[in-house]
Structure formats: structure tokens, C-alpha cells
Symmetry: C2
Subunit: 548 residues, 2 copies
């Protein structure tokens, strides 16, 4: 007899499950319940529709219920909300939101992909019409209509994750003055501070007003406008507010049915993505996953994992035994001309978990420097004392997506830094370098691990004792006009061998250049001449990014 599968939620996870299920099983009865009006929409495109980068609204609708039915023979019921799972009877209570009627539907297998919803803290004024959250098409329509009709001048975006970032950019591109408020001292929490600092500087250059380390306490009327009040006591006049401070998994249905909820608050699943009831699977933003690197439970509300989990669940329902191996949190966001990306664990996370690690920073061009359009990117690599790649972060203009994917692959397959050195990547001048930035990071990491060089990090500069330690700037003299680190002396690298007499064997030296390359060479020279020396990782450019 044909299996009957009911899927709750018809977007990233749910629609992917349904499509693959049908391909695997032509006979199954497949029902999608979606409480909203749309299925299969491009959540990730919503900010860009608001910003008119994607002007055509219909482009956001990747599939419609009709098309899903025609192609995949799927019974798509929009405006149908699952109210209750009756596990004993294997039925659902469902409300048809159009008619208001409630009915029951049975299932052999149930798939939960109900997603998550924007967090709205219980603060005064968040119910004003001008305070928006963004999750689906109606939210998008509301914001876009508001912009089109009221032509507002000012917006406050609360929350510095990727949705906040994308909204800040898209509103700014529509001509609004934008303030971005973030409780932490940095945007994009998955990045370490010095990497985020580069993003902060870029946003400021573009004219975004950043309010970091400050949370909102509420919104109030202020004449024809609103006033967003901050913990610091500041307040910002605005026409609209976008709340993008994170999402909360939709676990109510599952909890009510006594399905296990994990410690992080998501629905708990095993490696086959089964909940504590083996006939009920759960995927997407609503579930807790295993962090691929630390193996700790975590939540990673991203589309890639949701879509892939959907396919795995479809396969498992169709009789296979596929495991989901965990989520490593690979992510990327565009911020004007910049791309910021990360994969695996950040330094702060490693510290939090008490995992030993090393780190290097590299600044390399996206492709051969002599070919037009070469632009630099900063890469930060984190690796274990044994050399296993634990995580990477990149901030740059072009080619960031390419390198983060290789690091994501490296994290996935537990590559060592020596593996990075050896990767044979494609090189022609428009695309890369004979030694790709990925190789280069491997080299720098290898040098650190094999003791060819010691690194000093920007955080450590605060604590150095100027009596014991000398900062040695090995840039050309003209470069010092761009700024120097306080108390440093300048000996250009190419003069270093001839001027060793000027140095003191009893002191410790920290060499630095613009990005770390010449500083490294200087360190090699000095250490072989018997000096105690370390190289400032990331050089002056990274140091300055943090200080700016």
C-alpha cells in the first residue's frame, strides 16, 4: 500500500523533502501543510526585493502550489495550519485558515519543517506599525509597501547578523539613512572581533551609522517619527525599525506532542533526523543539530542545511539509511562591496569550549596582482596544535566565496594545514595565483606550527612592556606615513641585514609590516641571527582595522 506522508511547512526544508520524496516514490501520498499563503519562496532573496535589487516579486516564488502539484503530484494545502500532533493515532489536527474549519488528517510518516520566527522581545513600542520583522512574503510586502508609500528618510535596523546587515545595505541603497544597532561589540557574531572590525569600517565608509555594544530598550512616538531608545541612554529618531535580532525555532507543535526538545531549544533528532518518535522526522531551522567540529548541540538556521536535510529525510522515508553528519555553520554575507564569510569554529568559540588552537592571518589578492582588478582579502585560519583545520574567516572584495568553500571542505574532511599547502587549485591570472591564498594560509600555518616563526596577535600589543620589547616596523619609510604603532622603530626589511648592529640582543622584537609577509621574513632573519623575535599576525593593516 502507498505510504502517506504529511509535511508541515512548505518552504526550504518542506518543499525539498516533498520534491525528492516524489522522485523516489511515485506512489506515495504526499501532503504539504503550509499555514502561510506561499510555499517554496526564496527567503534569502527577501531583503533584495525590498532593496529593488530583485524588482520582480514573482521571482521570489520558486514554486507555486499549482506547479508543485503538476510536477510532483503533491497535495499542497496553503493556509492550512497544523494545530496538534496526535502521536497515538498518528493523526494531525489541522485548521483551514481560509474557512476557519478544523479537520483531521492521518499520516504514516510525518515531517516537521516549521522553521523559526523572528524574536520580538517584550519591550515597549515594538507593536507600532512601523516596527517590522522579516521572515516571509507578507512581511516583505509590508515593508516594501511602507517604503513605497511613505518614502521614509531614516531607518533603524536592530541586530547585526546577516539579515540585519542585508537590510541595512538594502535600505541604504534605497536612499534611507540607516542606523544599525547591535548589543554585542561587533556585527556578524560568527566572526572574531578583528575580522568584524574590517566590516565595521567598511559600513561606516558607506555611511551606515553603527551603534555597537548597545541594545534597544524600546520604541516611542516622537512627533511624526519614532524614537528608538538604547541602553546607553542614546536615542535615535527614525521612520521605521527593522527587528532582526535572531530567530526562535517553532517547536510548539513538537513540544506539545512530547517530542524531545534539545538543550539549545530546538527539536531533538537523531542522525537519521528522526525525532524521539521514529515516525516523525524534523528538519530545518526548528531542529537542534550537532556542530560538526565540536560535536556539541547547536542551532544553525540556514537554508543549505535545511534543503539537504529535506533530501536526506525523503531518502530515509523511502527506505534508505542516510545520516546527517552535522552542521559546521558555513555562511557568507554581502555588505556593499565586501563579502564576509566563515566556516567552522571561531577563536572565541574555541576559547569558550577550552579547545587548544593556533591562528594565522593572511592578506592575499583574489588573483594575480599584475592582472587588473586584483583586490586583497584577509583570511584568518584556526587550527589545532596537531594541525587540523578547525575554522576559517574571510573578509574581502572578490573571491571570498571561493576560498571559504575550500576551507569549508577542509573543515568537513578534517584536513591538516599541510593539506592546504598541497592543494592544486586552478591558476590563470584572471582567477588566482600560482600560490593561491588557500595555499598561502597553509604555508603561514605550517611555519608557525613548525616553529619557523612565532606570532604576536593584535590583542597582545596592549600588554607589552616597552622596556623589554621593541616594535620593529620593517615597512619602507614612506609607508609609515599611513600610520605606525606607537613606540615602534623603523628599519625597512631590505636594510635589515645591514643594520642588525642597531638592535639589542637583550630585547625582544615584534616585527611588523603592512600585512605580515615582510614581518615574517624579518622575523626569519632576526631569529637566525640570534634575536628573540615574533611577527605581528596580520600586520599593521589588521591592527589598524581594530583601532579605527
Amino acid at each position: 500500500m502507498a505510504k502517506k506522508i504529511v509535511i508541515i511547512g512548505g518552504v526550504a526544508g518542506g518543499a525539498s523533502t516533498a520534491a525528492r520524496l516524489r522522485r523516489m516514490d511515485e506512489q506515495a501520498e504526499i501532503i504539504i501543510l503550509e499555514k502561510g499563503e506561499h510555499i517554496s519562496f526564496a527567503n534569502c532573496g527577501l531583503p533584495y526585493h525590498i532593496g529593488d535589487v530583485i524588482p520582480e516579486r514573482e521571482k521570489l516564488l520558486v514554486q507555486t502550489p499549482e506547479a508543485m502539484k503538476a510536477r510532483f503530484k503533491i497535495d499542497v494545502r496553503i493556509k492550512n495550519e497544523a494545530l496538534k500532533i496526535n502521536r497515538q493515532q498518528k493523526t494531525l489536527d489541522i485548521k483551514d485558515l481560509a474557512t476557519g474549519e478544523t479537520y483531521q488528517e492521518s499520516y504514516d510518516k510525518l515531517v516537521l519543517s516549521p522553521g523559526a520566527r523572528p524574536i520580538k522581545p517584550p519591550l515597549p513600542g515594538l507593536d507600532f506599525d512601523q516596527v517590522f520583522t522579516l521572515r516571509n512574503i507578507p512581511d516583505t510586502d509590508q515593508i516594501k509597501n511602507y517604503l513605497d508609500q511613505h518614502k521614509p528618510d531614516r531607518a533603524v535596523v536592530v541586530g547585526g547578523g546577516f539579515i540585519g546587515l542585508e537590510m541595512a545595505e538594502n535600505l541604504h541603497e534605497r536612499g534611507l539613512e540607516v542606523s544599525l544597532v547591535e548589543m554585542m561589540d561587533q556585527l556578524m557574531g560568527a566572526l572574531d572581533y578583528e575580522m568584524a572590525a574590517q566590516l565595521h569600517n567598511h559600513l561606516r565608509t558607506k555611511g551606515i551609522d553603527l551603534q555597537l555594544g548597545d541594545g534597544i530598550t524600546g520604541v516611542e512616538e516622537a512627533g511624526s517619527r519614532k524614537l528608538v531608545n538604547l541602553q546607553s541612554g542614546k536615542s535615535i529618531k527614525t521612520d521605521l525599525v527593522i527587528l532582526a535580532i535572531g530567530v526562535k525555532p517553532n517547536t510548539e507543535l513538537a513540544a506539545q506532542a512530547n517530542l524531545e526538545i534539545g538543550p539549545t531549544g530546538g527539536i531533538k533528532v537523531n542522525e537519521y533526523l528522526q525525532t524521539s518518535d521514529p515516525d516523525i522526522y524534523a528538519i530545518g531551522d526548528a531542529i537542534e543539530v550537532k556542530d560538526f567540529v565540536s560535536e556539541n548541540p547547536t542551532m544553525v538556521p540556514l537554508a543549505g542545511p535545511a534543503n539537504k536535510q529535506g533530501r536526506i529525510v525523503a531518502d530515509n522515508i523511502s527506505g534508505r539509511q542516510e545520516k546527517y553528519q552535522g552542521t559546521q555553520g558555513t555562511a557568507i554575507a554581502k555588505a556593499f562591496d565586501l563579502a564576509v564569510a566563515s566556516t567552522g569554529l571561531a577563536e572565541k568559540k574555541l576559547q569558550e569550549l577550552g579547545i587548544d588552537y593556533h591562528t594565522v592571518h593572511i592578506n592575499s589578492n583574489n588573483h594575480a596582482g599584475y592582472y587588473p582588478g586584483a583586490v586583497p582579502m584577509f583570511i584568518k585560519l584556526l587550527f589545532s596544535p596537531e594541525g587540523t583545520v578547525l575554522g576559517a574567516q574571510i573578509v574581502g572584495y572578490e573571491g571570498v566565496d571561493k576560498r571559504i568553500d575550500i576551507f569549508a571542505t577542509a573543515v568537513r574532511h578534517k584536513f591538516s594545514i599541510y593539506d592546504l599547502q598541497e592543494l592544486e587549485l586552478a591558476y590563470a591570472p584572471p582567477y588566482g595565483s600560482a600560490k593561491d591564498p588557500v595555499n598561502m594560509v597553509g604555508f603561514a600555518a605550517g611555519n608557525l606550527l613548525q616553529g619557523e616563526v612565532e606570532n604576536t596577535y593584535w590583542q597582545e600589543l596592549e600588554d607589552i612592556d616597552p622596556v623589554k620589547t621593541v616594535l620593529l616596523d620593517v615597512r619602507e619609510e614612506v609607508e609609515t606615513q599611513l600610520g605606525v604603532i606607537k613606540n615602534s622603530i623603523n628599519i625597512p626589511l631590505n636594510e635589515l641585514r645591514d643594520r642588525l648592529v642597531e638592535l639589542d640582543q637583550d630585547k625582544e622584537y615584534i616585527s611588523y609590516c603592512a600585512v605580515g609577509l615582510r614581518g615574517y621574513i624579518a622575523a626569519r632573519i632576526l631569529s637566525q641571527h640570534g634575536f628573540k623575535v615574533s611577527n605581528l599576525s596580520g600586520g599593521y593593516k589588521l591592527y589598524k582595522a581594530v583601532k579605527d
Copy 2:
């Protein structure tokens, strides 16, 4: 006592060796012998300087002898040609080309990085001043001066490898009419025919005259011009000829010193890159390497391997024991708006070697289709019956370099196609898709391997028996106006389930759509309804690329 290392050849391999050597060993005496006038120049940028894409000649000179000396304390002797290796005495006979004098130099370790030279077959007329090869700066100057002074109208480029391709593009961009002559029936020999066919069509669209499957027999005078004669009997009038039919390794010095030469004609080295004399290392275009996938000896004259080999040799001379793991031939070339790339083994190579394989073709956008600027790329994946990735080829507009690097990584680490499915790559609309093309290829390969679908390939369409086999076009009717495969019937995918009665269980079906996705879904539907069916890999678009 300080080691004395002499390096023959001061460009990609040689200069990289020297720089790393100095960093590892401040005391060593390091001499570079370079018979030309320049060291460390950007070979790979030469065509783009000729095309004025890189207008500044000095940008091609990545390092000068003076800078190399200042930074790395290296004794760089340009216009010094090594004439003979005296292995017994561990000395070299060297000719100072400026003075004409010959002298000797001793070495503790010798590194050979003499590169390769363009092949010039013994055909009539190849000594005309208007027949050029391109390897170094003087070659570049000659070609560029000729173009600047004579403002020629027509060029013939002989050889369809990446240098030929780059020269054809750059000459065309300078306003010349360009014919590209290639003896094989396709350009870019590392690609399989159907992938190269897409390149052919693109070049023709751009106005390049392609003469494939035709070799030159010679060049003769024709009034103020030259006539290039072809084997087919055709001849082409031209103002200049660029010969780019491949390179020959510079092995004479090594051979004369009785160092072992491998079966492919390159200097034989062990995994530490030592020649048959352990005090002599060899790297770069001059050596034979192990093909990483097949483990057969081969020659891969590319800059990435040369530079990395240089670093390994420097490390080994400094006392480490690093192995070179072989070369997989990862390569990419720009051809106008197109990028063509490959890694690992091609289908034809697998056939030649008698290695069992499967293949799938995928056509996916570089990033989310709803975000502006999405453009498709064709990916071909080759994998073993056990699922190990053996090679990949890509032709497309954007994002080709990114995906080939992931496939290169997959080949390097012997990933299975299931590993490709699981890779967690970075997704935001401007950069990728929730299921990246790399994942998608993994899915399609998995479906083939697990028997969910059978594929038919473009080559097989010739041989089908129309009585037994029906071509089933599942595109929308309007799409058939773009052309159809002869003798096919059209049932749009979304009508297929309702029109199964029109089909005949006794026939075999080959379903096809534009690129293979809908054809695959059709095949799933038909096979589950008891029909014999296979899907045309790559669909009509790939088929048409071959037929055009």
C-alpha cells in the same frame, strides 16, 4: 659551513626555490643562474600584456635581480647560461653571455628549473620574422612591437591550448581578425569533446575563425603578407603567425650529465624531487611528474606545480623530508566571457587507460537564479564505479574557478560523490545556491550509481534504433521551437503522468529536456510505471553544443 646552492633558471620554479631557501637558511650561499635578461617574470601575464589588458610592462617583472639581492641576499646572475654539469667535481661550466667568457662554479646542491621551450616543428617558413613563439619577455616585446609598428590586420594562431586561446583572444581584442588552427578536432585537449564544443561555439560567436582537425604544413610569402598552408589544402592569408603548439622540456643539461630522463621526456625525479643524482634536484616544466590520479608518469607544465615544487625542494635542501605527491593537472583558461577548467582525468584519458568510470553532466547557475546576474555553467563529473571522484570539467561564465577548485580538492582527497552531496558550502543569493552546483553534481552522480536513473550520452544517440527506441522530449511545447532532436515526440513533463497511455511498454525511451533535470524527473516517473527509460545526460543544450 654554509651550504652553497646553485639554481639554474630564475623564474617560476627557480626564484621560488631561492626565496624559500633564504628564509629557511640565512647562511647558505645561493646563486641563481639565468640565461635570459629577466628573473621572476609573470609568464602567465604575457598574453595580456600583448593584448594591452596589462598595459604596464613593469608589472610583469614580479622581482628584479636587485630586489632579490636586497631582500634575499641572493647572487642573481642574469645572462649567465649553465653549459655543463660536472657531477664528479660538483661544478658547473657557465657562460657569461654579456662578456662571452666561460667560468666554473661549484655547488653543494644544484637545482634545475630550466623550464621548457616552445615547440617549433621543422616546417618550411617558420623562420620568417612574422612567425612568433611566446615564452618570455623578449618574445613578448617582439610581438608587441610588431603589433604596435605594423598594425597588422590578420593573425593565425597555431595551437588550441591555453596559450593559443589567450593569444587568440588578446589579438582579437586588439582588433585583428584571428584564425585559430588546431590539429585535433577540439581546443583545450584536457577537456572532453562535448565540453570543448561549447568553447568552440563561444569563440565563433566572438568572431574567431576556427580551423579544427587541421595542421599547418608551412608558411610562405604571399605578396606583402604570408600564407599559412594547412594539411587540408586550405591556406590562410595573414600578417603574423603565433606558434603555440606546446612546449618541450629543457632537459639537455640533465641528459648530458647522464641524469635519468623519464619515458615522457622530462627529467626523472623521485618523490623528494631529486634527480638520479641525490645532490641535484629538478622542478617545473622540465620534469616528469606522477599523475596524481592514474599514477602514470606525465608532464604538466604549469606554474602552480612549479612554484610549489620550488618550495618543497628548498625545504628538502634545508633538511626536511617533504614529498611531492604528484600533479593532477588542475587548469583554467579565460576565453572572452567564458571560463573553461578541468582537473583530474578526462573521459578520453580514462578510456585510453582502460579505467572504469561513470559520468554525469549538470547545468546549474553560478548563484541563486532569482538574484541578478545568474548565469549557467555546465559541469561534467567523472567517477569510478565505487563512487570516487576522478575528474571534473566546467565551462561557464561566472563561478567556474570556484567550483573547479572544490573538485580539485575532491580529486586530491579521493572524495566520493557522496562527499560532494554533503559539502556545506557558503550560501547567500549573490554567491551560490542552497544546493550548490557541486552538491547537485553529487546528487546526479548518486542517482546514477544507485540505479535511480540510467543515462544516455550524446555519443550514443547516433546508434539508436528508432524502431526500438523513442526519444521523448519533456520540455514545454514552446521550447521545441529552439530545436529538437530528430524523431523525438514531445510530452511536457507536467503532462506526463496523464499521458502515459500514449506510451508503449515494449519500447525503450530516452527522455530529454533542456539540460537533464526534467528529463531525470521524467525518467523517474516512467521507470516507476514500468517503462524502460534513460535520461539524456546534459539534455538538448549539450547535444546542440556538439552538433552546432
